[in-house]
Amino acid sequence: MAANPMSQFDVYRIGPEIKVGALDISFTNASLFMILSTVSILIIFNLGSNKNSILPNKIQLLAELSYTFVSKMISDTAGSKAKPYFAFIFSLFMFVLFCNMFGMIPYTFTVTSHIIVTFVLAAFIFIGVTVIGFIKHGFGYLKLFVPSGVPAVLLPLIVVIEIISYLSRPISLSVRLFANMMAGHTMMKVFGGFVISLGVVGGWLPLSFSVALTGLEILVAFLQAYVFAILTCIYLNDALNLHH
């Protein structure tokens, strides 16, 4: 491992180069951790749903608690109309959470610390929500940009601001997750490097910081997954229940 705190985000090819036309779709460490996350999600939730006992065992309890947690989150923020999108938001939350958490294991790769991954997710959500909004409300969905109770003089300005804020949703959503993950991991790497460079004498202070940061990063890993999912719910709520 290089001392460079950014080298942990390097993507490198595992195995041979795979090319489809001009596109390089080689199997990389990022692909490996995506597969690890999804496979562990599937294993955990499959184990947690196979047996149905009145008194659930630990893994069943875990699966059911996650289910009710996400389901409550969706119904609280987007109402009952969002029920058909439950599976997507659940998968999204679990995928981001597991990718973040896998990144907390030393020497692993954090899938969500790459802007391209988070941006693809956010762009998919943005496009999906916009399509849902236009399907549900037709061109009436454009009323989203015209808040009620605004003086007519201010309206052109407000509409422009609303459109910009709407269009910046995928960017803010993706950058929030990516930047949090990258910053946290970089910081941990930097403090880890301080421990090495200051040695036995002065390394204890950065080490304690490192320990504290690990706890904080685990919290951030959960929190960012939650924020990602709940913002998706809020965008979905805008599309499903037009309030303007």
Binding site: A2, N4, M6, S7, F9, D10, V11, R13, L23, D24, I25, S26, F27, T28, A30, S31, M34, I35, S37, T38, I41, L42, F45, N46, G48, S49, N50, N52, I54, Q60, A63, E64, Y67, T68, F86, A87, F88, F90, S91, M94, F95, V111, S113, H114, I115, I116, V117, V120, L121, F178, M182
Partner: protein, 196 residues
């Protein structure tokens, strides 16, 4: 001045760090588009498969499990409630039966006691009657005997005195004269002997 040096040093250190990164791996690896297509492809593949498996297979099972548990618990609670009500009703019935049987037992006991008392009193009356009758009969007999006793005694006295006279005198004496004497004596002394 000190401030300016401080900020300058920070600025230059950033510059320096950036230079160092650039030297090692060319800035942020995230902005290197070499593997973007690969990451997008694998993201869509893994996420898509996970979404399909979760939404088609696993999540329905979990929601089904939750539903069945909820309904089963509700059913169990209902059944328990029903059984509690049943047992309460049965308890009430049981209490009633015990109360009734207590009353019945009481009345049976009272009846039996009254009957026994009646029987006893009837028997006692019969017995009293019998005893009275017997006493009356006995008294009658005694009376009869008492009345007959002087005559018999008179007769015995006449016979013994005639025999005595015969042995003493050796001659037959007229019975009627002895009878007259005895009668006369017994009439005179009857009160003394029989207490009549």
């Amino acid at each position: 001045m000190v401030k300016k040096i401080y900020f300058n040093s920070i600025f230059f250190s950033f510059f320096f760090i950036k230079e160092a990164f650039a030297a090692e791996s060319g800035g942020m690896p995230q902005l290197n588009p070499e593997f973007w297509v690969s990451q997008i492809f694998w993201l869509i593949l893994t996420f898509g498969i996970m979404y399909l498996v979760l939404s088609k297979l696993i999540l329905p099972k979990i929601s089904n499990n939750l539903e069945t548990r909820k309904s089963q618990i509700l059913e169990n609670i209902e059944a328990a409630e029903k059984q509690r009500e049943d047992s309460e009703a049965k308890l009430k019935e049981y209490d009633e039966i015990i109360y009734k049987s207590k009353l019945e037992a009481n009345s049976i006991f009272n009846q039996a006691r009254e009957k026994a008392i009646k029987d006893i009193s009837a028997k006692r009356a019969v017995l009293d009657q019998q005893i009275d009758n017997e006493i009356a009969e006995a008294e009658k007999e005694i009376d009869l005997l008492r009345k007959k006793a002087p005559e018999k005694i008179n007769k015995i006295a006449i016979e013994t005195s005639s025999e005595l006279l015969q042995k003493l005198i050796g001659a037959e004496i007229n019975n009627s004269s002895i009878t007259a004497i005895v009668d006369d004596l017994s009439k005179r002394n009857g009160d003394k002997y029989y207490g009549n």
